[in-house]
């Protein structure tokens, strides 16, 4: 298993917490609204082929929030700053959920952020028929129930959820939720102008979705595909919102095939 280290670097005047591991070309992994779960099994597997960078977004985990990071577009600006500073432009990237939305915003702003992108259960585009589940009027426990289609097939369940959170972890989770509220409150979890702006994208893009996603409807996969010319779609059957956690082997296989 590749070793991951936890680093703190300074970006835009604040500390940024980054897990880094593996070897090979850089792969930037952008976590979702729930926070940075660290180098889980899928990240370990990807680190066999790539040098994986897994930062905690500003305001999440142990990362500071520069006062100006209020919106998803601000966050995208922050990450282009990070990429420039760290020499991580034109790299492969994976964005999960809200992190997928973040990657899409970055794609809409610049053609040299990424060389290839995977958007996984990505928020950011308003579904036509369904709705993106409002995670702010249900409890974190209810959110977790909705994230996983079949908890018994989550290999890391005990590790991730087997014990009650410590007070520090609980406080961390509150801070993460607060940052999600800051970034995605209104319009909720989407940017009405994003699909039009994605018209400029020419970077190879793969859209990955759990077939049984209860948070961001799977129809959004087609909406992303329509918005990004030449993009492909992989739907992982019998799987909820987080394929990388619920079906890490299937996910990693799809990721390696594309990246």
């Amino acid at each position: 298993m590749p070793n991951f280290t936890e680093e703190t670097i300074s970006v835009a005047g604040g500390n940024l917490q980054v897990y880094k591991g593996g070897s090979g070309d850089p792969l930037l992994v952008l976590h979702g609204a729930g926070g940075n779960a660290g180098p889980r099994r899928y990240a370990q597997a990807l680190a066999e082929k790539f040098t994986v960078y897994l930062p905690s977004h500003p305001g999440y985990g142990n990362s500071d929030r520069p006062g100006w990071v209020e919106t998803m577009q601000d966050l995208a600006c922050f990450y282009t700053w990070y990429q420039e500073q760290e020499g991580l432009e034109n790299v492969r990237a994976i964005g999960f959920s809200m992190g997928g939305w973040l990657a899409a915003e970055m794609l809409s702003m610049t053609g040299h952020a990424f060389s290839k992108v995977m958007l996984v259960g990505a928020a950011g585009i308003k579904p036509n028929d369904g709705e993106i589940t409002d995670i702010f009027i249900i409890s974190p426990a209810q959110v977790r129930d909705l994230v996983y289609h079949e908890p018994s097939q989550v290999p890391e369940w005990d590790e991730m959820f087997g014990t009650d959170p410590t007070p520090e972890q609980a406080q961390q989770a509150e801070g993460d939720r607060e940052m999600a509220i800051r970034l995605t409150w209104k319009p909720y979890m989407h940017n009405p102008r994003l699909p039009a702006k994605l018209g400029r994208v020419s970077v190879p893009t793969q859209i990955v979705w759990g077939e049984n996603d209860n948070l961001v409807p799977v129809e959004c996969a087609s909406l992303y595909q329509q918005a990004i010319a030449g993009s492909g779609v992989t739907v992982i059957p019998n799987c909820g919102h987080s394929p990388q956690i619920e079906k890490p082997d299937d996910f990693v296989q799809a990721a390696l095939a594309f990246l």
């Binding site: 702010f136 249900i138 409890s139 509150e174 607060e178």
Partner: protein, 411 residues
Amino acid sequence: MFLMRFTERAYVNYTEEDVRNSPNEAVRLTFSNTNFDPQEGHYLYNMYLDEYEYSEEVGFDGLMLNEHHNTPTCLGATMNLEAAILARNTKKPKIVLLGNPLPIFDNPIRLAEELAEIDMISSGRLVSGFVRGTGVESLATNTNPLHNRARFEEAHDLVIKTWTTPGPFRWEGDHYHFRVVNPFQTPVQKPHPPVWIPGTGSPETLVWCAERNYPYIFLETDPQGTEDMKSIYAETAREHGYEPGPENFGYLVRIHVQDTDEKAYDVGKGYMVGNIGVGRIPLPRDYASPVGYGSRSDDPRFLRLREQIRSDPFRVGGLDSAHYDEILDSKRWIIGSPETVISQLREVLSYMRPGILAVWTNDGSISHEDTMRCLELMGQEVLPALREIGEELELTDPFQKEGVMPGLTRV
């Protein structure tokens, strides 16, 4: 002492089962409005307005209203409308709005206009209170709870400036932006109507009020906690060069009177289905206080106070955890014959020492008939006695103390 009458104007025509079957078993925010019958609403709004008009007749100094959204527990979804009706239909009492939830208004100028109209129609009887609103108010209006306090403060500053600074002027703030602020209608009270702030003791709000010499109305807080909250207010007041007295504080308490203690005890049980709703099912935390809504101050005084508020069994977890007899024993509600109520209130007033007493006469399932009898007995026996007690204990109110509040100039 200033005596004002209050009720939350409850709607109770639904069952505990209805709430249990609703999303998150919550009586607010997501409890479907299919549980509301507008015919019943027609009856209730008029009934509650009748009761307020009768409250003038029996001698209350003020008629207090409040506002909540998406809930059967309070019909005052747009309190200013009720206030406008009372402005026209009553002659003497102050119309005390506690308060308009500032952060949820995207256009505070419209609010300034509404309040100015109420002030003019009532010939300067408006007391304009402001609140942050509960989490439900934020969610019901899709106002980001993270910005609640910042929006409260900025909207307040904008409303006050709108009332006191000749227009037109421009406002480019953090949360509000207006190219031409110049509403033609301004309040009749100068420099502006009195501002009172109600709350359960958020330390930041206490400090904010004391900085502005705004009376703070404690909403059913516990005696020990209230003492600590008052000292936070007083400390700030002294830093700003004044010594606060009873005129800086109000206290809201449920007070119900009937001819006998027994009758009052029975009728008073109607409060139990009041602002926590039929079934007394606690509200989900993410509704009442979404992440980001609360303060992150690490001032130890504030933390201690917050812990105290959180652990008050009467308040937290709400009435679902409190029992009727315990509440009465603790004198957090005062229920009985006029004689009983007067003697218990003397005790409460002597340690709480408010210049403003908000009398929550009825709520929940208490009937109109019982409410009217309660108000009648209040007028005949309780209010005169309270005025004497107020004199005796020197519970000066803001209108008796000159120069305490902005907006005292009368028309």
